[in-house]
Amino acid sequence: MKQMNSFIQRECEILGKIIRVSNSTLEINTRLTRIVGILAEAFSTDFCALYSFHEDQSSFTLTASSGRDLPEPDSSGNSQWGGLMEKVAQSRQPLFFEGDDQPVGNLKGMMSKVNSPFSLALIPIADDGFFYGVLLLYYAQLRRFGDEERESLLMAGSAISGPFRNARLDATRVAQAKDRQANQLSLLYEINNALLSTMKFERILHIILTAITIGDGMGFNRAMLFLTDERRNRLAGMMGVGPDNAEEAGNIWKNLEGKRDKLSEILSSISHNYSPKGTHLDERVRRVNIPLDKEECILARTVTEQKPFNIDYERDGLTCPEDCELNREVNCILRSKSKGGIKSYRFATVPLWGREGTIGVVVVDNLYNGRPITDDDIQLLTMFTRQAGLAIENCILYRYLEEAHWELKEAQETLLQREKLAALGEMAANVAHEIRNPLVSIGAFTRRLYNKLDNGLYEKRYGEAIIKEVDRLEGILNDVLSFSKASKVVFEKFDLNRIIEETLMGMEDELKSQGIVVEKSLDDNLPEIPCDYQQIKQVFINLFSNSRDAMRGGGRLTVKTFPLSQESRDYIGIDIGDTGGGIPSEVLHNIFNPFFTTKGWGTGLGLAICHRIVDGHRGVIEVDNDPDRGVTFTVKLPIEREA
């Protein structure tokens, strides 16, 4: 009895020590070395060692040992010892050799090699599932292993399996994590390839959202993308990708996943197959427009706080407020048709990153399969949105570049045109000046001759003809010169109404004699505007003259002035209308062209001059034509001179 007690006590001591070490947080090899030390001492071995088993190579390596080396050094599986250990591995049974037993199998061979007697115990280290290795005890003498000892050793073997099991599980977990990481990186790489394949804005958005929803991608049910409009401080919905109901969901994914193409290829060919435009989700997303300072809005907060949100109503009770006006207006996509109402709806938002901060938000949910969104998901999404944001930014910048380039080209062409016209104008002016003097001589002397001829003389007719033609030439010269002069503008503030009144007064008699009634409604409160007095007067003279010419048999001339605002700039508008029958629509587009006229006389420069002058004042001249009644010209002159 006493013997039994002391034995049990000793047992407990040994096991206790082993278990304590097993459960410690020391590194595994350290633990095993200590355990081997404990056993070597407890069992007074000459050599005690632990060999780990490697499944893939079916071999053993020495993990820890205590005492002298084995007579035949054995740290690999390629010897007699290894053979013994294999036997233990296969049978999962211990092997005891007490020196004088009948040697079995390999032992025979060993006995011949080792010339002195020895004893051996090989204990399997295993648990229900796995075989981890072998515990070896070696005595360089004959030794008996008692029953209790054998029990002891078996229990020790069992206890030692603990650290092995933990190590294995750790290794598995690490391997799994590494695997997942590798997958994620490969996924991001594929998506990046696809993103690089295009510079078209809509396609890039489509690729991003598909990568997020496709099974081979991140596998979310639905994804939506919003971009910030910095100027108006709002968030605008750009695109939504996702099925409208669960059935559609199933079908789409089945289709796309059936093809085992590389993800990047699927994504690159995306816009030809499956376009989100016109789907319910896409339409609703595009209608969303949220002010960024809307505090309770999770989308807005994602942008302003620059961090993701993972919303699970069941878990945190957080969701969009019931009374959000967006909800009523647009039936906000965040709360639509969730299975079982609000309770089971989960969604996550991730900020989109540009080079200098957030440029928008990506919203994802698992509306149809209700799969919870994990931190891992968020992490992957975050990695992705960095790429995605940059791709979008690049695309936008590219578009600006294209637009800027186009505008520059247009401006260049306009400038070229202007220069051509200016050069032409200058040449015309020079020619006109040169012609003036000779014309004065010709005309004036002809008049003198004309006056000296007797009134009845037939030849007086010739004189008339010459004088008339000279007058005509002088008219052309005047028009040409004022046309080319129109680009040199001298600005001073004038009251437009006064200029109009003066001009009308100058033409009063003329108009009255033709039976033309003048109707004026000039706004009293108009400010003085910077303009060139002579030139603006010329515009009115030309327009009034045109109206007069159109109403040979009488009519009504209406003149109206009024303030107006266009594209956030203020103008004064002047309407000049007549009842002269209008302009035939087929020539309407020509009327501002120089030298175009429907009259039998004149230079056809009148309206061209008006256009030039108004242009020089940075204003606009428009025509409203009523082919059977009359024409109204509208001149708009800016109140402020452009900086």
């Binding site: 000046h433 003036r436 003097n437 014309l439 004065v440 001589s441 010709i442 005309g443 004036a444 002397f445 002809t446 008049r447 003198r448 004088i467 000279v470 007058d471 002088e474 005047n478 010169l481 004022s482 002069k485 040199k488 001298v490 002579q534």
Partner: protein
Amino acid sequence: MKKILVVDDEENLRLLYQEELEEEGYAVEVAAHGQEALDKLSTFKPDLITLDIKMPGMDGVETLQRIRDVHRDLPVILCSAYGEYKQDLTTWASDAYVIKTSDLTELKETIRILLSRD
């Protein structure tokens, strides 16, 4: 009888103005360029001067300045084929600016008004 000095570098125009103005009842002398005009100032003592702008050597504007140096109140009409000097500050020293046309009515009217001022 009022005296008018006509300054123009073109012979035909000098002839024209002389004939036309003499018919109006003025005594007319002509000068072909600025220097000649200045010389005739002291000998002819005109009551009014018509001055062409574009002339070789001293142009109309410079001649005008020289005239003004001597006679501050003498009426001078700048007469030109060029309309753009009309708004030029340098021509403010003249009393009138008339653009040359084959119909001399405006010129004659301007002369009449300026001379009737005294």
